[in-house]
Symmetry: C2
Subunit: 391 residues, 2 copies
């Protein structure tokens, strides 16, 4: 354990404050409750943290009423852990039970609201999914005639976008671990190592540096640059003249870093060096624009203007960064369509990318927190010049 | 890389065979296509494998028509990788695009079927989720009046349950890596190590043994036994008299092992030893019952009969094992409600558990493949007697 590790978990006051803010927004929107079923949202309001979400077998529900603490409706296997949370009302069933996976319990909970003709919020917009069988959702709705369902996506995402000091401390810590891991790359990775071993070595190093896990490790290494940033690694050994990129989402206490680094293997060609320099300066422009009052679209335009020096037509990746927190990618998006206004406490990635040469691309990424005076880096800034491994 | 590593990926014939089987079942069910959007299913029919699914931002769609190859409707960022697959028809849009995240493309694809009054299959049953915004789903349906939607959960799960020889080879390999990792535990983990470091050490060891990742590591260590198997690790050091359990889902080329091991730290008390022996024998009963023609409910009853020697009332975990493959847990479930008949080629966990003492529990788990003659272990069988670390 690193000596600077923050406390795990949160004080009850954190969850009470999140719930109170949600309830204030629910009152404005005329919502009698929020029905949540995805891991980040259930955790946000309850503190319930488990890897068990990796199993698709069981649904989990949390209901935030108009007043009072959230109510959990969950499989019995989660009862011990959920009862350690700040919640008082934890309702369970013996799951899996395909004929009735929580539907009766939810019906009992929501029937009085349906009878009263109330409306509850559900996250059904951009970046959401329905983490329960659609058939069960349809049955639940048939059980609850008169219940209104409103889209609460922006309400919940808007809350989650602005991080508390305790959340920022966790994000700073995992970004430090990520930076320390990238610092070690030139010592533990060398020409001749198959890319698959590079990924494995990187993961082991991230754990050694203090990450709880490194679930997201992607990248590429190809001559002069790479063409794809989402593929699994090949067994091809790193070769002199490659550009190697590693992009990682490491996690600590359920919070993520998400940034990448580029290196030339042995030697760098001029085009790759120019791409790196351009993206570094695009990031500088993003850092300068990342202050309260500017929008995500402003951030996008500031970075795009620099990228256009080398790459006129813009990319099809659709955005140049995003929010960061308990998910690898969160709202908002640095894109022309996103007019979200930056606020102090938002934690964001700046992720400019460009295409060059014959089908090559480069991506550069840093993580920041918005402060009243502007951007504060959470990652150790990449060097302006493309670094060379074993040069 | 271990010398016995199988080839990564699959030959095109594997995907063609999966698609042909699906189309035969679709014809029986009168379905003009299957609309898929979850990672295991998109990968099953296309081979598309990426960690990018960890980001919730973008939806991904695969349509399996009544005849011919599947059609991908995906974000542009996945185009290079998907075009390397066996598919010929890859349609992309610049995502994220909250106003139209693939909905126009899906509408174009499905409109002729809607016009003809056809019905397509969608997974909307047990263990499924809708991995797209519910609001987008509702808009898509409004665009396609006349299109019938039938539940294709069992159709797809039924296909995926029975593994091909190439899949079994990958599953055997990751189970070997898992077994080798557990074998190392008494050498790398000792009394006094905080549980958090135990988990980190285990993950690093799994990577060293050749796993691509160890995304699922849970467990517990408490005096005489543990009470909860889904919590994150504490910083409490292992103490003499503890029972330590580690349960892991390690992955290789997208396939999982999922099994656990128990150890006494320093010394074992009689109750814990008896629980371990009972679960070991319950697993033997499961191994004997795991043959073609028996059902999952038969497996459940065979294991329950042994568990009842020590624990009369049965558990609330709801099942005693499950399917295994590209997901940590898959269909079927070894539960009283699941009458799925075992077939050669199914890969399963046997996972008997019981409660004992003052709120303690123990879980035991092995992975098997069903052969025509019965169960074949993929894991190195746990010893009958509770092993002692540093005894």
């Amino acid at each position: 354990m690193r000596p600077d590790a923050p406390q795990r978990g949160f004080h009850e006051a954190e969850f009470a404050a999140r719930t109170a803010k949600a309830q204030a927004r629910m009152a404005e929107a005329g919502l009698a409750g929020l029905l949540l079923m995805t891991e980040p949202e259930v955790r946000y309001f309850s503190g319930f943290q488990t890897l068990f979400w990796q199993s698709p077998t069981r649904p989990w529900f949390l209901f935030v009423p108009a007043a009072g603490k959230p109510i959990a409706v969950i499989p019995e296997i989660g009862a011990v852990l959920m009862r350690r949370s700040w919640l008082d009302d934890v309702r369970t069933w013996s799951a899996p039970q395909p004929g009735d996976d929580g539907i009766s319990l939810l019906t009992d909970l929501l029937a009085p609201l349906a009878k009263a003709g109330e409306t509850i919020g559900l996250m059904k917009g951009h970046e959401t999914s329905l983490r329960m069988p659609l058939g069960d959702w349809e049955r639940l709705m048939a059980n609850l005639p008169g219940l209104g369902i409103a889209d609460a996506t922006r309400l919940v995402q808007g809350l989650r976008m602005v991080k508390s000091p305790a959340e920022i401390e966790k994000l700073r810590y995992i970004c430090e671990i990520g930076s320390a891991t990238f610092d070690r790359v030139p010592e533990v990775i060398a020409e001749g190592m198959p890319l698959e071993e590079v990924f494995r070595t990187f993961r082991r190093e991230a754990l050694a540096q203090g990450a709880d896990d490194a679930p997201y490790v992607v990248g590429a290494s190809e001559p002069g640059g790479y063409s794809d940033v989402i593929s699994p690694p090949s067994r091809r050994p790193l070769q002199a003249g490659d550009v190697l990129m590693l992009d990682t989402g490491c996690s600590w206490d359920g919070y993520f870093c998400d940034f990448d680094r580029n290196w030339a293997v042995g030697k760098a060609d001029d085009l790759a060096r120019r791409a790196h320099d351009t993206l570094w300066r695009a990031t500088e422009a993003g850092l300068a624009a990342a202050k309260p009052g500017n929008s995500c679209a402003d951030l996008f335009r500031a970075m795009s203007a620099v990228i256009a020096e080398m790459y006129k037509s813009g990319g099809d990746i659709g955005r140049l960064g995003h929010g960061l927190g308990t998910q690898l990618t969160e709202q908002p998006s640095h894109a022309a369509f996103d007019e979200t206004v930056l606020e102090a406490g938002m934690v964001l990635t700046l992720e400019p990318s460009l295409s060059y040469g014959a089908g090559l691309m480069m991506v550069h990424e840093e993580n920041i927190v918005i402060r009243s005076g502007g951007a504060e880096l959470l990652t150790t800034r990449a060097p302006q010049e493309l670094p060379v491994i074993g040069g």
